[in-house]
Symmetry: C2
Subunit: 311 residues, 2 copies
Protein backbone atom coordinates (compact mmCIF):
# COMPACT_ATOMS: atom_id res chain seq x y z
CA UNK A 1 0.00 0.00 0.00
CA UNK A 2 1.63 3.21 -1.16
CA UNK A 3 -0.78 5.98 -0.39
CA UNK A 4 1.51 8.94 -0.77
CA UNK A 5 2.83 9.79 -4.18
CA UNK A 6 6.55 9.29 -4.07
CA UNK A 7 7.53 12.63 -5.54
CA UNK A 8 11.06 12.19 -4.37
CA UNK A 9 12.66 8.89 -5.07
CA UNK A 10 15.55 11.28 -5.32
CA UNK A 11 15.05 12.04 -1.64
CA UNK A 12 16.26 8.60 -0.66
CA UNK A 13 19.20 9.02 -3.02
CA UNK A 14 20.24 12.29 -1.44
CA UNK A 15 19.32 11.67 2.18
CA UNK A 16 20.57 9.28 4.81
CA UNK A 17 19.21 10.14 8.24
CA UNK A 18 22.29 8.93 10.12
CA UNK A 19 24.51 11.14 7.95
CA UNK A 20 22.11 14.09 8.01
CA UNK A 21 22.18 13.97 11.79
CA UNK A 22 25.99 13.72 11.92
CA UNK A 23 26.31 16.72 9.59
CA UNK A 24 23.84 18.76 11.60
CA UNK A 25 25.61 17.97 14.90
CA UNK A 26 28.98 18.88 13.39
CA UNK A 27 27.64 22.07 11.78
CA UNK A 28 26.11 23.24 15.08
CA UNK A 29 28.98 21.90 17.17
CA UNK A 30 26.31 20.72 19.59
CA UNK A 31 24.48 17.42 20.12
CA UNK A 32 21.31 18.94 21.55
CA UNK A 33 17.71 18.10 20.78
CA UNK A 34 15.24 20.68 22.01
CA UNK A 35 12.02 19.02 23.11
CA UNK A 36 8.87 20.81 21.97
CA UNK A 37 6.52 19.76 24.78
CA UNK A 38 4.01 22.59 25.04
CA UNK A 39 2.03 22.60 28.29
CA UNK A 40 -0.77 25.12 28.63
CA UNK A 41 -0.17 26.15 32.26
CA UNK A 42 3.53 26.72 31.62
CA UNK A 43 3.22 28.88 28.52
CA UNK A 44 4.22 32.53 28.98
CA UNK A 45 1.14 34.52 30.02
CA UNK A 46 0.93 36.63 26.85
CA UNK A 47 0.49 33.44 24.82
CA UNK A 48 -2.44 32.35 26.98
CA UNK A 49 -4.68 35.28 26.16
CA UNK A 50 -7.99 34.88 24.37
CA UNK A 51 -9.62 32.11 26.39
CA UNK A 52 -8.65 28.48 26.69
CA UNK A 53 -10.69 26.63 24.09
CA UNK A 54 -8.96 23.79 22.29
CA UNK A 55 -8.52 26.02 19.20
CA UNK A 56 -7.00 28.88 21.21
CA UNK A 57 -4.62 26.50 22.96
CA UNK A 58 -3.64 24.85 19.68
CA UNK A 59 -2.80 28.23 18.12
CA UNK A 60 -0.76 29.15 21.20
CA UNK A 61 1.10 25.83 20.99
CA UNK A 62 2.11 26.37 17.37
CA UNK A 63 3.09 29.99 17.98
CA UNK A 64 5.14 29.03 21.04
CA UNK A 65 6.88 26.07 19.42
CA UNK A 66 7.59 28.01 16.23
CA UNK A 67 9.23 30.79 18.21
CA UNK A 68 11.34 28.21 20.06
CA UNK A 69 12.41 26.79 16.68
CA UNK A 70 13.31 30.29 15.49
CA UNK A 71 15.57 30.74 18.52
CA UNK A 72 17.26 27.34 18.51
CA UNK A 73 17.65 26.87 14.74
CA UNK A 74 21.14 28.37 14.86
CA UNK A 75 22.17 26.41 17.98
CA UNK A 76 20.73 22.90 17.84
CA UNK A 77 20.64 20.25 15.10
CA UNK A 78 17.17 18.97 15.91
CA UNK A 79 13.89 19.36 17.74
CA UNK A 80 11.78 16.57 19.21
CA UNK A 81 8.06 17.19 18.91
CA UNK A 82 6.04 15.48 21.65
CA UNK A 83 2.87 14.28 19.93
CA UNK A 84 0.90 13.74 23.16
CA UNK A 85 0.46 17.43 23.97
CA UNK A 86 -0.91 18.15 20.50
CA UNK A 87 -3.08 15.05 20.46
CA UNK A 88 -4.58 16.11 23.79
CA UNK A 89 -6.20 19.05 21.96
CA UNK A 90 -7.97 16.91 19.36
CA UNK A 91 -7.99 17.76 15.62
CA UNK A 92 -7.08 21.41 16.31
CA UNK A 93 -3.97 20.22 18.10
CA UNK A 94 -3.03 17.95 15.22
CA UNK A 95 -3.22 20.84 12.76
CA UNK A 96 -0.95 22.81 15.09
CA UNK A 97 1.48 19.88 15.21
CA UNK A 98 1.68 19.78 11.41
CA UNK A 99 2.50 23.50 11.37
CA UNK A 100 5.16 23.06 14.05
CA UNK A 101 6.87 20.26 12.08
CA UNK A 102 6.78 22.25 8.84
CA UNK A 103 8.10 25.41 10.48
CA UNK A 104 10.99 23.64 12.20
CA UNK A 105 12.05 21.96 8.94
CA UNK A 106 11.87 25.30 7.13
CA UNK A 107 14.28 26.63 9.74
CA UNK A 108 16.69 23.83 8.84
CA UNK A 109 16.09 21.75 11.97
CA UNK A 110 15.77 17.98 11.81
CA UNK A 111 12.42 16.98 13.31
CA UNK A 112 12.05 13.88 15.46
CA UNK A 113 8.42 13.12 16.18
CA UNK A 114 8.11 11.53 19.61
CA UNK A 115 5.00 9.42 19.12
CA UNK A 116 6.21 6.04 20.42
CA UNK A 117 4.06 4.40 17.75
CA UNK A 118 3.89 0.69 17.10
CA UNK A 119 1.63 -1.80 15.37
CA UNK A 120 1.87 -4.74 12.99
CA UNK A 121 2.05 -5.23 9.23
CA UNK A 122 0.24 -2.77 7.03
CA UNK A 123 -0.94 -0.82 10.08
CA UNK A 124 2.65 -0.12 11.12
CA UNK A 125 3.35 0.80 7.51
CA UNK A 126 0.51 3.34 7.60
CA UNK A 127 2.11 5.06 10.61
CA UNK A 128 5.51 5.06 8.91
CA UNK A 129 4.19 6.38 5.58
CA UNK A 130 2.21 9.07 7.33
CA UNK A 131 4.96 10.40 9.55
CA UNK A 132 8.30 9.78 7.87
CA UNK A 133 10.15 11.35 5.01
CA UNK A 134 9.69 15.09 4.75
CA UNK A 135 7.50 16.14 1.82
CA UNK A 136 6.83 12.54 0.90
CA UNK A 137 4.54 12.14 3.93
CA UNK A 138 1.50 13.92 5.30
CA UNK A 139 3.28 15.06 8.48
CA UNK A 140 6.84 15.36 7.23
CA UNK A 141 8.99 14.34 10.17
CA UNK A 142 12.61 13.24 9.67
CA UNK A 143 12.41 10.53 12.33
CA UNK A 144 9.88 8.85 14.60
CA UNK A 145 10.18 7.13 17.98
CA UNK A 146 8.83 3.56 17.96
CA UNK A 147 8.04 1.08 20.76
CA UNK A 148 9.32 -2.51 20.36
CA UNK A 149 6.81 -4.47 22.49
CA UNK A 150 5.25 -6.12 19.40
CA UNK A 151 8.61 -7.50 18.31
CA UNK A 152 10.87 -7.52 15.27
CA UNK A 153 8.20 -7.90 12.59
CA UNK A 154 6.46 -4.79 13.95
CA UNK A 155 9.65 -2.75 13.49
CA UNK A 156 10.28 -3.90 9.92
CA UNK A 157 7.66 -1.67 8.23
CA UNK A 158 9.03 1.41 10.05
CA UNK A 159 12.58 0.50 9.06
CA UNK A 160 11.64 -0.19 5.43
CA UNK A 161 9.76 3.08 4.95
CA UNK A 162 12.47 5.07 6.76
CA UNK A 163 15.22 3.66 4.56
CA UNK A 164 13.18 4.09 1.39
CA UNK A 165 12.71 7.76 2.22
CA UNK A 166 16.04 8.67 3.80
CA UNK A 167 14.34 9.05 7.20
CA UNK A 168 15.13 7.66 10.65
CA UNK A 169 13.59 5.61 13.44
CA UNK A 170 14.48 5.63 17.16
CA UNK A 171 13.44 2.42 18.92
CA UNK A 172 12.80 2.56 22.68
CA UNK A 173 15.50 0.47 24.34
CA UNK A 174 16.11 1.64 27.92
CA UNK A 175 13.77 4.41 28.97
CA UNK A 176 14.50 7.10 31.55
CA UNK A 177 11.61 6.45 33.97
CA UNK A 178 11.94 4.29 37.12
CA UNK A 179 9.14 1.93 35.99
CA UNK A 180 11.02 1.17 32.78
CA UNK A 181 12.88 -1.43 34.81
CA UNK A 182 9.73 -3.54 35.26
CA UNK A 183 10.05 -5.20 31.85
CA UNK A 184 13.22 -3.78 30.31
CA UNK A 185 15.50 -5.15 33.06
CA UNK A 186 14.05 -8.67 33.15
CA UNK A 187 16.96 -11.05 32.65
CA UNK A 188 16.71 -14.13 30.43
CA UNK A 189 19.76 -16.36 29.94
CA UNK A 190 21.96 -13.73 31.53
CA UNK A 191 20.77 -10.88 29.35
CA UNK A 192 18.30 -8.11 30.20
CA UNK A 193 15.47 -7.52 27.77
CA UNK A 194 16.74 -4.09 26.82
CA UNK A 195 19.98 -5.80 25.76
CA UNK A 196 18.08 -7.97 23.30
CA UNK A 197 16.26 -5.00 21.86
CA UNK A 198 19.62 -3.20 21.64
CA UNK A 199 21.14 -6.12 19.77
CA UNK A 200 18.32 -6.09 17.24
CA UNK A 201 18.53 -2.31 16.76
CA UNK A 202 22.33 -2.46 16.34
CA UNK A 203 21.84 -5.10 13.68
CA UNK A 204 19.40 -2.83 11.82
CA UNK A 205 21.74 0.15 12.26
CA UNK A 206 24.81 -1.72 11.07
CA UNK A 207 22.96 -2.69 7.88
CA UNK A 208 22.33 0.98 7.12
CA UNK A 209 25.66 2.59 8.02
CA UNK A 210 26.39 5.86 6.24
CA UNK A 211 29.55 7.87 5.67
CA UNK A 212 29.69 9.04 9.30
CA UNK A 213 29.73 5.48 10.61
CA UNK A 214 26.16 5.39 11.94
CA UNK A 215 22.97 3.89 10.61
CA UNK A 216 19.54 5.49 10.25
CA UNK A 217 17.94 3.27 12.89
CA UNK A 218 18.66 4.60 16.38
CA UNK A 219 17.84 3.81 20.00
CA UNK A 220 16.28 5.70 22.89
CA UNK A 221 18.42 5.29 26.03
CA UNK A 222 17.73 7.39 29.13
CA UNK A 223 20.31 9.69 30.76
CA UNK A 224 19.09 8.51 34.14
CA UNK A 225 20.87 5.15 33.82
CA UNK A 226 24.48 6.24 33.10
CA UNK A 227 25.95 2.76 33.57
CA UNK A 228 23.62 1.20 31.01
CA UNK A 229 24.16 4.18 28.74
CA UNK A 230 27.91 3.46 28.65
CA UNK A 231 27.28 -0.27 28.25
CA UNK A 232 24.86 0.29 25.38
CA UNK A 233 27.18 2.79 23.65
CA UNK A 234 29.79 0.01 23.55
CA UNK A 235 27.30 -2.65 22.46
CA UNK A 236 25.79 -0.49 19.69
CA UNK A 237 28.73 1.05 17.82
CA UNK A 238 26.67 1.92 14.70
CA UNK A 239 23.61 3.22 16.49
CA UNK A 240 22.63 6.83 17.15
CA UNK A 241 21.40 7.18 20.73
CA UNK A 242 18.60 9.61 21.50
CA UNK A 243 19.06 10.39 25.19
CA UNK A 244 16.11 11.77 27.18
CA UNK A 245 16.08 12.46 30.91
CA UNK A 246 18.61 15.31 30.97
CA UNK A 247 17.85 18.17 33.35
CA UNK A 248 14.33 17.99 34.78
CA UNK A 249 14.51 14.20 35.10
CA UNK A 250 17.89 14.29 36.84
CA UNK A 251 20.43 13.36 34.14
CA UNK A 252 23.63 15.46 34.15
CA UNK A 253 26.34 16.26 31.61
CA UNK A 254 28.65 13.77 33.37
CA UNK A 255 25.92 11.11 33.10
CA UNK A 256 25.66 11.45 29.33
CA UNK A 257 29.37 11.84 28.54
CA UNK A 258 29.76 8.12 27.90
CA UNK A 259 27.09 8.21 25.17
CA UNK A 260 29.43 9.95 22.70
CA UNK A 261 32.21 8.60 20.53
CA UNK A 262 35.66 10.26 20.36
CA UNK A 263 34.41 12.66 17.65
CA UNK A 264 31.51 13.82 19.81
CA UNK A 265 29.05 11.94 17.58
CA UNK A 266 26.77 8.97 18.23
CA UNK A 267 24.36 10.60 20.64
CA UNK A 268 21.91 13.48 20.84
CA UNK A 269 20.68 14.66 24.21
CA UNK A 270 17.14 15.91 24.63
CA UNK A 271 16.06 18.70 26.94
CA UNK A 272 12.46 19.84 26.90
CA UNK A 273 11.18 21.76 29.93
CA UNK A 274 14.65 22.88 31.00
CA UNK A 275 14.97 24.85 27.77
CA UNK A 276 11.53 25.81 26.53
CA UNK A 277 10.30 26.90 29.98
CA UNK A 278 13.69 28.23 31.10
CA UNK A 279 12.09 31.61 31.83
CA UNK A 280 10.56 30.07 34.96
CA UNK A 281 13.83 28.53 36.24
CA UNK A 282 15.55 30.38 39.08
CA UNK A 283 18.74 30.72 36.98
CA UNK A 284 16.94 32.67 34.26
CA UNK A 285 13.82 34.17 35.86
CA UNK A 286 15.66 37.18 37.24
CA UNK A 287 17.67 37.84 34.11
CA UNK A 288 14.85 37.62 31.59
CA UNK A 289 11.48 37.12 33.20
CA UNK A 290 8.39 35.88 31.41
CA UNK A 291 8.26 38.66 28.82
CA UNK A 292 11.68 37.79 27.43
CA UNK A 293 11.15 34.03 27.48
CA UNK A 294 12.78 33.61 24.06
CA UNK A 295 16.07 34.97 25.43
CA UNK A 296 15.80 32.50 28.31
CA UNK A 297 15.42 29.70 25.73
CA UNK A 298 18.57 30.90 24.01
CA UNK A 299 20.56 31.21 27.25
CA UNK A 300 19.48 27.78 28.50
CA UNK A 301 20.40 26.18 25.17
CA UNK A 302 23.83 27.81 25.19
CA UNK A 303 24.37 26.80 28.82
CA UNK A 304 23.47 23.18 28.06
CA UNK A 305 25.86 23.16 25.08
CA UNK A 306 28.65 24.40 27.38
CA UNK A 307 27.79 21.90 30.10
CA UNK A 308 28.03 19.05 27.60
CA UNK A 309 31.31 20.38 26.18
CA UNK A 310 33.01 20.67 29.54
CA UNK A 311 31.92 17.15 30.56
CA UNK B 1 -2.47 19.22 34.62
CA UNK B 2 -6.21 19.20 33.96
CA UNK B 3 -6.71 20.76 30.56
CA UNK B 4 -10.22 19.69 29.86
CA UNK B 5 -13.01 21.11 31.94
CA UNK B 6 -14.54 18.27 33.85
CA UNK B 7 -18.14 18.92 32.95
CA UNK B 8 -19.15 15.48 34.06
CA UNK B 9 -17.91 14.38 37.41
CA UNK B 10 -21.29 12.71 37.17
CA UNK B 11 -19.94 10.71 34.22
CA UNK B 12 -17.62 8.77 36.48
CA UNK B 13 -20.50 8.21 38.90
CA UNK B 14 -22.76 6.80 36.22
CA UNK B 15 -20.21 4.97 34.07
CA UNK B 16 -17.95 2.02 34.65
CA UNK B 17 -16.37 0.81 31.44
CA UNK B 18 -16.26 -2.83 32.49
CA UNK B 19 -19.98 -2.77 33.27
CA UNK B 20 -20.86 -0.71 30.19
CA UNK B 21 -19.14 -3.32 28.05
CA UNK B 22 -20.89 -6.21 29.83
CA UNK B 23 -24.28 -4.54 29.34
CA UNK B 24 -23.59 -3.86 25.67
CA UNK B 25 -22.49 -7.45 25.03
CA UNK B 26 -25.59 -8.80 26.80
CA UNK B 27 -27.92 -6.37 25.02
CA UNK B 28 -26.53 -7.32 21.60
CA UNK B 29 -26.12 -10.99 22.52
CA UNK B 30 -22.79 -10.80 20.69
CA UNK B 31 -19.19 -10.22 21.79
CA UNK B 32 -18.03 -8.67 18.51
CA UNK B 33 -15.88 -5.62 17.96
CA UNK B 34 -15.94 -4.33 14.41
CA UNK B 35 -12.55 -2.92 13.47
CA UNK B 36 -12.73 0.34 11.53
CA UNK B 37 -9.50 0.06 9.53
CA UNK B 38 -10.14 2.05 6.36
CA UNK B 39 -7.69 1.32 3.55
CA UNK B 40 -7.93 3.43 0.42
CA UNK B 41 -7.39 0.67 -2.15
CA UNK B 42 -10.00 -1.55 -0.54
CA UNK B 43 -12.80 1.00 -0.27
CA UNK B 44 -15.78 0.39 -2.58
CA UNK B 45 -15.18 2.19 -5.88
CA UNK B 46 -18.01 4.71 -5.50
CA UNK B 47 -16.33 6.04 -2.34
CA UNK B 48 -13.07 6.59 -4.17
CA UNK B 49 -14.42 9.12 -6.64
CA UNK B 50 -13.18 12.71 -6.79
CA UNK B 51 -9.42 12.22 -6.83
CA UNK B 52 -7.14 10.89 -4.15
CA UNK B 53 -5.87 13.92 -2.24
CA UNK B 54 -5.48 13.52 1.50
CA UNK B 55 -8.69 15.53 2.01
CA UNK B 56 -10.70 13.41 -0.42
CA UNK B 57 -9.42 10.23 1.18
CA UNK B 58 -10.18 11.52 4.66
CA UNK B 59 -13.76 12.34 3.69
CA UNK B 60 -14.13 8.89 2.13
CA UNK B 61 -12.79 7.28 5.31
CA UNK B 62 -15.30 9.04 7.55
CA UNK B 63 -18.18 8.33 5.18
CA UNK B 64 -17.20 4.65 4.91
CA UNK B 65 -16.66 4.14 8.64
CA UNK B 66 -19.85 5.99 9.54
CA UNK B 67 -21.87 3.78 7.20
CA UNK B 68 -20.26 0.70 8.78
CA UNK B 69 -21.28 2.01 12.21
CA UNK B 70 -24.84 2.56 10.95
CA UNK B 71 -25.01 -1.07 9.84
CA UNK B 72 -23.41 -2.70 12.89
CA UNK B 73 -24.92 -0.50 15.62
CA UNK B 74 -27.79 -2.96 16.08
CA UNK B 75 -25.52 -6.02 15.99
CA UNK B 76 -22.25 -5.28 17.81
CA UNK B 77 -21.49 -3.69 21.17
CA UNK B 78 -18.37 -1.84 20.03
CA UNK B 79 -16.15 -0.65 17.23
CA UNK B 80 -12.36 -0.41 17.31
CA UNK B 81 -11.00 2.59 15.42
CA UNK B 82 -7.49 2.02 14.06
CA UNK B 83 -5.73 5.36 14.50
CA UNK B 84 -2.87 4.57 12.07
CA UNK B 85 -4.98 4.78 8.92
CA UNK B 86 -6.34 8.18 9.87
CA UNK B 87 -2.95 9.45 11.02
CA UNK B 88 -1.48 8.43 7.67
CA UNK B 89 -3.60 11.18 6.08
CA UNK B 90 -2.27 13.97 8.28
CA UNK B 91 -4.52 16.60 9.92
CA UNK B 92 -7.35 15.91 7.46
CA UNK B 93 -7.31 12.28 8.58
CA UNK B 94 -7.42 13.28 12.23
CA UNK B 95 -10.52 15.40 11.65
CA UNK B 96 -12.10 12.40 9.96
CA UNK B 97 -11.17 10.20 12.93
CA UNK B 98 -12.89 12.59 15.33
CA UNK B 99 -16.05 12.46 13.21
CA UNK B 100 -15.93 8.66 13.10
CA UNK B 101 -15.64 8.41 16.89
CA UNK B 102 -18.48 10.88 17.45
CA UNK B 103 -20.76 9.18 14.93
CA UNK B 104 -20.21 5.71 16.38
CA UNK B 105 -20.96 6.93 19.90
CA UNK B 106 -24.12 8.66 18.65
CA UNK B 107 -25.20 5.30 17.27
CA UNK B 108 -24.79 3.82 20.76
CA UNK B 109 -21.59 1.91 20.03
CA UNK B 110 -18.73 1.82 22.51
CA UNK B 111 -15.60 3.15 20.82
CA UNK B 112 -12.19 1.61 21.47
CA UNK B 113 -9.42 3.69 19.95
CA UNK B 114 -6.59 1.43 18.84
CA UNK B 115 -3.63 3.78 19.18
CA UNK B 116 -1.21 1.65 21.22
CA UNK B 117 -0.08 4.83 22.97
CA UNK B 118 2.44 4.95 25.78
CA UNK B 119 4.68 7.49 27.48
CA UNK B 120 5.64 8.58 30.98
CA UNK B 121 4.25 10.92 33.60
CA UNK B 122 2.41 14.01 32.47
CA UNK B 123 2.94 13.04 28.82
CA UNK B 124 1.03 9.80 29.32
CA UNK B 125 -1.59 11.83 31.15
CA UNK B 126 -1.93 14.13 28.12
CA UNK B 127 -2.70 11.14 25.89
CA UNK B 128 -5.21 9.80 28.41
CA UNK B 129 -6.95 13.15 28.91
CA UNK B 130 -7.11 13.73 25.18
CA UNK B 131 -8.56 10.38 24.20
CA UNK B 132 -10.58 8.99 27.08
CA UNK B 133 -13.94 9.74 28.54
CA UNK B 134 -16.55 10.67 25.97
CA UNK B 135 -17.49 14.36 26.04
CA UNK B 136 -14.90 15.07 28.71
CA UNK B 137 -12.10 14.66 26.17
CA UNK B 138 -11.20 16.16 22.82
CA UNK B 139 -11.56 12.84 20.95
CA UNK B 140 -14.18 11.14 23.06
CA UNK B 141 -13.26 7.46 22.96
CA UNK B 142 -14.56 5.03 25.58
CA UNK B 143 -11.31 3.08 25.75
CA UNK B 144 -7.76 3.20 24.41
CA UNK B 145 -5.16 0.50 23.69
CA UNK B 146 -1.86 1.08 25.50
CA UNK B 147 1.60 -0.51 25.15
CA UNK B 148 3.37 -1.58 28.38
CA UNK B 149 7.06 -1.39 27.33
CA UNK B 150 7.72 1.64 29.57
CA UNK B 151 6.49 -0.24 32.64
CA UNK B 152 3.99 0.15 35.46
CA UNK B 153 4.48 3.87 36.12
CA UNK B 154 3.71 4.58 32.46
CA UNK B 155 0.37 2.78 32.76
CA UNK B 156 -0.71 4.58 35.94
CA UNK B 157 -1.71 7.89 34.28
CA UNK B 158 -3.88 6.04 31.74
CA UNK B 159 -5.50 3.99 34.51
CA UNK B 160 -6.11 7.05 36.71
CA UNK B 161 -7.74 9.11 33.97
CA UNK B 162 -9.78 6.15 32.75
CA UNK B 163 -11.17 5.45 36.21
CA UNK B 164 -11.84 9.13 36.92
CA UNK B 165 -13.90 9.34 33.74
CA UNK B 166 -15.58 5.94 33.66
CA UNK B 167 -13.50 4.93 30.64
CA UNK B 168 -11.36 1.88 29.88
CA UNK B 169 -7.84 0.88 28.91
CA UNK B 170 -6.67 -2.26 27.08
CA UNK B 171 -3.01 -3.06 27.73
CA UNK B 172 -1.11 -5.09 25.12
CA UNK B 173 -0.28 -8.44 26.74
CA UNK B 174 0.13 -11.16 24.09
CA UNK B 175 -0.21 -9.84 20.57
CA UNK B 176 -1.41 -11.78 17.54
CA UNK B 177 1.64 -11.37 15.27
CA UNK B 178 4.44 -13.98 15.00
CA UNK B 179 7.13 -11.45 16.02
CA UNK B 180 5.28 -10.74 19.26
CA UNK B 181 7.10 -13.77 20.65
CA UNK B 182 10.49 -12.00 20.40
CA UNK B 183 10.02 -10.13 23.69
CA UNK B 184 6.66 -11.27 25.04
CA UNK B 185 7.69 -14.92 25.32
CA UNK B 186 11.07 -14.34 27.01
CA UNK B 187 11.08 -16.40 30.20
CA UNK B 188 12.48 -15.07 33.48
CA UNK B 189 12.28 -17.23 36.63
CA UNK B 190 9.93 -19.60 34.87
CA UNK B 191 7.50 -16.94 33.72
CA UNK B 192 7.14 -15.39 30.25
CA UNK B 193 7.13 -11.62 30.06
CA UNK B 194 3.51 -11.52 28.86
CA UNK B 195 2.63 -13.37 32.08
CA UNK B 196 4.11 -10.56 34.17
CA UNK B 197 2.24 -7.94 32.22
CA UNK B 198 -0.91 -10.04 32.61
CA UNK B 199 -0.39 -10.23 36.37
CA UNK B 200 -0.07 -6.45 36.60
CA UNK B 201 -3.14 -5.86 34.44
CA UNK B 202 -5.20 -8.37 36.47
CA UNK B 203 -4.19 -6.52 39.63
CA UNK B 204 -5.40 -3.23 38.12
CA UNK B 205 -8.59 -4.89 36.87
CA UNK B 206 -9.34 -6.55 40.19
CA UNK B 207 -9.10 -3.16 41.93
CA UNK B 208 -11.80 -1.78 39.65
CA UNK B 209 -14.30 -4.63 39.49
CA UNK B 210 -17.86 -3.59 38.66
CA UNK B 211 -21.23 -5.29 39.04
CA UNK B 212 -20.55 -7.69 36.16
CA UNK B 213 -17.39 -9.01 37.81
CA UNK B 214 -14.88 -7.31 35.50
CA UNK B 215 -12.69 -4.25 35.88
CA UNK B 216 -12.24 -1.32 33.51
CA UNK B 217 -8.62 -2.20 32.72
CA UNK B 218 -8.43 -4.90 30.07
CA UNK B 219 -5.84 -6.84 28.10
CA UNK B 220 -5.13 -7.43 24.41
CA UNK B 221 -4.56 -11.15 23.77
CA UNK B 222 -4.38 -12.49 20.22
CA UNK B 223 -6.68 -15.20 18.84
CA UNK B 224 -3.69 -16.71 17.08
CA UNK B 225 -2.30 -18.18 20.32
CA UNK B 226 -5.29 -20.21 21.61
CA UNK B 227 -3.31 -22.00 24.32
CA UNK B 228 -2.08 -18.76 25.86
CA UNK B 229 -5.55 -17.29 25.44
CA UNK B 230 -7.00 -20.06 27.62
CA UNK B 231 -4.14 -19.76 30.10
CA UNK B 232 -4.55 -15.97 30.37
CA UNK B 233 -8.35 -16.25 30.73
CA UNK B 234 -7.72 -18.39 33.81
CA UNK B 235 -4.96 -16.13 35.15
CA UNK B 236 -6.97 -12.92 34.68
CA UNK B 237 -10.44 -13.65 36.06
CA UNK B 238 -11.39 -9.95 36.42
CA UNK B 239 -9.95 -8.74 33.12
CA UNK B 240 -11.80 -8.07 29.88
CA UNK B 241 -9.84 -9.54 26.96
CA UNK B 242 -9.81 -7.73 23.64
CA UNK B 243 -9.00 -10.45 21.12
CA UNK B 244 -7.60 -9.48 17.71
CA UNK B 245 -6.44 -11.88 15.02
CA UNK B 246 -9.81 -13.44 14.18
CA UNK B 247 -10.46 -14.16 10.51
CA UNK B 248 -7.86 -12.57 8.24
CA UNK B 249 -5.03 -13.35 10.67
CA UNK B 250 -6.12 -16.99 11.07
CA UNK B 251 -7.94 -17.11 14.41
CA UNK B 252 -11.13 -19.24 14.41
CA UNK B 253 -14.25 -19.42 16.57
CA UNK B 254 -12.85 -22.57 18.20
CA UNK B 255 -9.61 -20.71 18.97
CA UNK B 256 -11.38 -17.95 20.88
CA UNK B 257 -13.95 -20.08 22.70
CA UNK B 258 -11.71 -20.36 25.77
CA UNK B 259 -11.60 -16.56 26.14
CA UNK B 260 -15.17 -16.42 27.49
CA UNK B 261 -16.61 -17.14 30.90
CA UNK B 262 -19.67 -19.35 31.41
CA UNK B 263 -21.99 -16.36 30.87
CA UNK B 264 -20.37 -15.53 27.50
CA UNK B 265 -18.69 -12.46 29.02
CA UNK B 266 -15.06 -11.57 29.62
CA UNK B 267 -13.92 -11.25 26.01
CA UNK B 268 -14.67 -9.27 22.89
CA UNK B 269 -13.39 -10.51 19.54
CA UNK B 270 -12.29 -8.05 16.90
CA UNK B 271 -12.73 -8.49 13.19
CA UNK B 272 -11.71 -5.70 10.83
CA UNK B 273 -11.10 -6.57 7.18
CA UNK B 274 -13.27 -9.70 7.32
CA UNK B 275 -16.31 -7.54 8.06
CA UNK B 276 -15.76 -4.08 6.64
CA UNK B 277 -14.41 -5.36 3.30
CA UNK B 278 -16.64 -8.44 3.23
CA UNK B 279 -17.98 -7.39 -0.18
CA UNK B 280 -14.66 -8.56 -1.67
CA UNK B 281 -14.68 -11.95 0.06
CA UNK B 282 -15.67 -14.91 -2.14
CA UNK B 283 -18.51 -15.80 0.28
CA UNK B 284 -20.20 -12.43 -0.19
CA UNK B 285 -18.97 -11.05 -3.52
CA UNK B 286 -21.50 -12.97 -5.56
CA UNK B 287 -24.44 -12.28 -3.25
CA UNK B 288 -23.91 -8.52 -2.85
CA UNK B 289 -21.05 -7.19 -4.94
CA UNK B 290 -19.34 -3.88 -4.42
CA UNK B 291 -22.44 -1.73 -4.80
CA UNK B 292 -24.20 -3.40 -1.88
CA UNK B 293 -21.15 -3.49 0.38
CA UNK B 294 -23.20 -2.42 3.41
CA UNK B 295 -25.30 -5.59 3.14
CA UNK B 296 -22.09 -7.63 2.96
CA UNK B 297 -20.98 -5.93 6.21
CA UNK B 298 -24.26 -6.94 7.82
CA UNK B 299 -24.11 -10.52 6.56
CA UNK B 300 -20.47 -10.98 7.64
CA UNK B 301 -21.25 -9.60 11.10
CA UNK B 302 -24.22 -11.93 11.51
CA UNK B 303 -22.18 -14.88 10.26
CA UNK B 304 -19.40 -14.12 12.76
CA UNK B 305 -21.94 -13.89 15.60
CA UNK B 306 -23.28 -17.31 14.62
CA UNK B 307 -19.80 -18.80 14.31
CA UNK B 308 -18.94 -17.63 17.83
CA UNK B 309 -22.24 -18.91 19.22
CA UNK B 310 -21.87 -22.38 17.77
CA UNK B 311 -18.26 -22.67 19.06
Amino acid sequence: MKLVVKAGKSNSMKHHFGDDLAQAVERMKSPIVVGLDPRWEQLPANLREGGDSLEVRARAYSRFCNEVSDVVASLAPAVKVQAAFFEELGPAGMSAMAKVITHARERGLLVILDGKRNDIGSTAEAYARGYLGGEESAWGADALTVSPYLGDDSLTPFVDVALERGAGVFVLVKTSNPGGRMLQDLVTDGEPMYGRVAQHVEQLASQTVGKAGYGSIGAVVGATYPQQLAELRAAMPHTWLLVPGYGSQGGTAADVAAAFDARGLGAIVNNSRGIIFAYARPEYAGRFGEARWQEAVEAATLDMINELRSA
